[in-house]
């Protein structure tokens, strides 16, 4: 009953405009429902979390990745495999030199903001793509890694690039030690 090894998982495609407009409609509706930007950001993060905890199963099944031994491998995997699979983009990964568990994903192109030139008036601290942070956070939590994922820079707010920061909160080495005992 196991899955035959040579079967390629099906890759369903939908129209890109439809996807971008659906996401935009979601954010626009949240903006109508909540007055404060922080509330909208939190809700987007929660929704993303709900998606992430489920999406990780699909990702692991379709990508057949090997076990990772470091945070840097995980960050590379998120950028080069996961983002590529689900959004069709490959952000570049940079690592914070001073800390071993802080990484950044720099997004050159972000398909979700294709039709949004600038944030609407009165919404200057809205993180439009905060759903992505929730997805990453939820997915990592399902593989027993807690992380803090936030937007460090956002083109919609006037910065030069869009940057997602991932800070891993628990050390992998601690868990390995516990298992050996």
């Amino acid at each position: 009953m196991s899955r035959p090894g040579n079967r390629r998982p099906e890759c369903h495609k939908i129209n890109r405009d439809l996807f971008v407009l659906t996401y935009g409609a979601l954010v626009a509706q949240l903006c109508k429902d909540y007055e404060k930007d922080e509330d909208v950001n939190n809700y987007l993060d929660k929704m993303g979390y709900g998606i992430g905890i489920r999406l990780v199963e699909d990702f692991l099944a379709r990508s057949c990745v090997k076990k990772c031994h470091s945070y840097s491998e995980i960050a590379d995997l998120i950028a080069q495999v996961a983002f590529k699979m689900y959004l069709g983009i490959t952000p570049s990964v940079t690592r914070n030199e001073s800390s071993r568990n802080e990484f950044s994903l720099i997004l050159d192109k972000n398909p979700l903001v294709e039709f949004v030139e600038e944030l609407p008036a009165g919404r200057s601290s809205l993180c439009y793509c905060n759903l992505l942070c929730g997805v990453i956070r939820g997915a990592l939590e399902m593989i027993h890694l807690t992380a803090d994922v936030t937007f460090l820079q956002d083109r919609l707010k006037g910065d030069k690039v869009t940057e997602i920061g991932i800070t891993f909160l628990k050390k992998l080495e601690e868990k390995k030690c516990r298992r050996k005992k």
Binding site: L21, G24, A25, A28, F115, V116, E117, E118, A121
Partner: protein, 140 residues
């Protein structure tokens, strides 16, 4: 000789969405005197636009009206958004190109889910781009 152009965008309910003037360098001072005049000519032409749109196969209605020395050219979309140009010199090619380019910009704006359909366009990037397009197609 380059003329003066008044370019409003009128929404579905005949409400003003956007307006801009393209004037050659020597005529900039007289802008404010004729503003209300231009608005009333454009408004008067709206009735003719609605009549003409059914006679024409495509969206570009060319010149629908003439008032003294002013010509009124219109691009009317299927959802009743009208791009109007009041001009005192015939410049059909430039106006047609301007309409096409501004229409493309408008479509992109309309796809932004934060923009309420047919509401006044306050985006400064839109304004800057239309100014650039006006200078490129009309005043050069």
């Amino acid at each position: 000789m380059s003329g003066s152009f008044y370019f409003p965008i009128v929404g579905h309910h005949d409400n003003p969405g956007f307006e801009i003037e393209f004037l050659p360098a020597e005529k900039v001072e007289s802008k404010h005197d004729h503003h209300h005049f231009n608005q009333s000519i454009a408004h008067a032409a709206l009735g003719l636009v609605d009549a003409n749109r059914w006679l024409c196969n495509n969206m570009h209605l060319k010149t629908v009206d003439k008032f003294n020395e002013w010509f009124v050219s219109v691009l009317a979309t299927a959802d009743h958004v009208k791009f109007i140009t009041l001009h005192d010199v015939r410049q059909d090619h430039g106006i047609k190109n301007l309409f096409s380019d501004v229409y493309e910009l408008y479509i992109k704006l309309a796809m932004n889910l934060f923009y309420k359909p047919y509401s006044p366009i306050g985006s400064s990037t839109f304004d800057i781009k239309v100014q650039f397009l006006g200078k490129k197609h009309l005043l050069s």
